[in-house]
Amino acid sequence: TQLLEQSPQFLSIQEGENLTVYCNSSSVFSSLQWYRQEPGEGPVLLVTVVTGGEVKKLKRLTFQFGDARKDSSLHITAAQPGDTGLYLCAGEEAGSYQLTFGKGTKLSVIP
């Protein structure tokens, strides 16, 4: 069973600060996805990265997939209160249709 380790587990920052969330594994994934989940809701897909070294930007969010496809990071620039939520990374093994999720990073952005 492949495991995804996310860090930090909790993060509380002031509005306007930058932050980076990490997702690491000892195994290779064919693709890696980032989700955001709010209380009482299901996860919502933010981005999928497939190619090693790939960088994708979504407004103030920058996602990077490691060269070896074992790790990923999510960087948020100038965080806003609306960014508050649980950020989950999820990897897909080659030939499998299931996602392996990390435990998540709970982000709180204080106005």
Binding site: G40, G42, P43, Y97
Partner: protein, 114 residues
């Protein structure tokens, strides 16, 4: 268009009982997956169904079963409930079963076992 709908939204059961959770995928989606999310953890894969056939099963006991109907809706059944089964049960749908398919999650069913 309606998203993935799950029912009921909340459920309270006692140990030993049985429960059935329901999921309606987005129109046109043929794949449904079920995940269990325990408080403070990420979702854990339970089942995937595509075109009414089971295509994947996670590391869950045989007390957990599921099926997909001709209209692509799905049910998750859990027998002989344990306290540890208390969790948010999430259903996700996608058009196909490929690795590049985008998953859409419902809001989940919050199950409490007393």
């Amino acid at each position: 268009d309606a998203g993935v709908t799950q029912s009921p939204t909340h459920l309270i059961k006692t140990r030993g009982q049985q429960v059935t959770l329901r999921c309606s995928p987005i129109s046109g989606h043929k794949s449904v997956s079920w995940y269990q999310q325990v408080l403070g953890q990420g979702p854990q894969f339970i089942f995937q169904y595509y075109e009414k056939e089971e295509r994947g099963r996670g590391n869950f006991p045989d007390r957990f079963s599921a099926r997909q109907f001709p209209n692509y809706s799905s049910e998750l059944n859990v027998n002989a409930l344990l306290l540890g089964d208390s969790a948010l049960y999430l259903c996700a749908s996608s058009k196909g079963q490929g690795a590049d398919e985008k998953l859409f999650f419902g809001s989940g069913t919050q199950l409490s076992v007393l």
